[in-house]
Symmetry: C2
Subunit: 243 residues, 2 copies
């Protein structure tokens, strides 16, 4: 059944306008009585019947709502250093496919790209749209939130108040693998820090450790920044698979 | 220590020419006595001293050779359907980072892109270069081979003669996860089939199963074709981590 994103779902009768309405009525030429799924990004699928079909809006009646059942059994927040735009786009798109629940973009010492306030706002908007499109494309009914860009210090400070397992992917970590870290502490919520192109400094890793994080390696091979989050998310999904 | 790719390493004294020589002598201005690493893509690092520095060539003496020790304990061959070029580039680059040992590009029913003989040759050349650059960048001394483009029938036929675990990532597989498949049969060599944008047909999966493959899912979420190989490779690396 066709799925459409509509952020404002309340009550039994919903009116959809704009691009999605045009797509439903003009491109797909759906008719009264046809079934479709709406989702508002909260993880719930609304099974609907098309009840009205105007030039610029369509109306539907909600027949049934249910959890999509596609989310991972573990909630992953990816704290991703701001990197070159196309690489960041890639990280957000792929990690949404892999089931990441939320993104916290941050600036650290070796970040090359340092957007000012205005372009930071635009960047977050752009990445939010990429997350929405990727969620729709891969069949998720939950749309990951992309938070505002913060400093690493701010991210570390906020981390202290969180429950869950806090991980730093650190290529110089020689003792603890992500597998060991995941098995030391079983949590339903994981915060994963991935550094910029040049990696974290030792002081930054220490700062995150003081905020309760453990550093771990993703293996012998060094992933690029935009690949590390996806590889780690796939590994976490694998660890929790079947649980 | 700086690492350079040089495909022809025999004996104790080696002459490097072309781009790599220029990079060493003109860009990096390395001097006699400086140490560097050469690798020929076979998985061995050659620790060398620079002994001569001409305009267009440099000479080195091999001091020591050793295995890089960075390869996964399991050899993954990714049999990847031919997809849009930029997506294929991406799959080859990222899967090289993730430790895949070899690529077999193939054509199946739902492949949209179908290069003729000439462009097929160019495509393989291009992807081989991408694999080499990705290997160099992520610190691998082994450069994955990119095979010629074959039909799925041909790939299935060749599969029959191989030992190891043969997996098909199939989004309609509802019973067996990749985790179960990896734990049913412990192998040091894994052949992983990833379909094109539109996926495999049921008949194609049956063909691969007849050739000894088992179909498995990568989880509830549907990865794009270019993401599936990387996610699966990360999951396999995770399963074998610490072994």
């Amino acid at each position: 059944m066709r799925r459409f994103y509509w952020p404002d779902i309340t009550g039994k009768h919903i009116t959809v306008t704009g691009q999605e309405a045009k797509h439903i009525s003009r491109v797909l030429r759906m008719q009264e009585g046809d079934m479709l799924i709406l989702f508002d990004g909260s993880g719930i699928d609304y099974y609907c019947t098309l009840t009205g079909n105007d030039a610029d809006s369509i109306s539907v009646a909600v027949v049934e709502k249910k959890e999509s059942g596609k989310e991972l059994p573990v909630q992953i927040t990816l704290c991703q250093a701001v990197i070159k735009s196309d690489h960041l786009d890639y990280a957000i798109q792929k990690c949404t496919e892999a089931g990441v629940r939320a993104f916290v973009p941050f600036l650290s010492e070796r970040c090359v790209k340092r957007p000012d306030a205005k372009s930071a706002g635009k960047l977050v908007e752009r990445e939010s749209r990429i997350a929405m499109e990727a969620a729709k494309q891969c069949g998720r009914s939950y749309v990951p939130k992309v938070g505002d860009i913060v400093t690493l210090e701010k991210a570390a400070e906020e981390l202290q108040n969180k429950n869950g397992l806090k991980l730093v992917a650190y290529e110089s970590e020689e003792h603890r693998t992500i597998k060991e870290a995941l098995r030391e502490q079983r949590c339903r919520e994981i915060f994963l820090f991935v550094g910029p192109e040049g990696g974290f400094t030792r002081e930054e890793v220490r700062l995150l450790e003081e905020a309760g994080a453990v550093s771990c390696s993703l293996g012998e091979l060094i992933f690029r920044s935009e690949t590390a989050g996806l590889a780690a998310a796939a590994m976490i999904a694998y660890e929790y698979m079947g649980n």
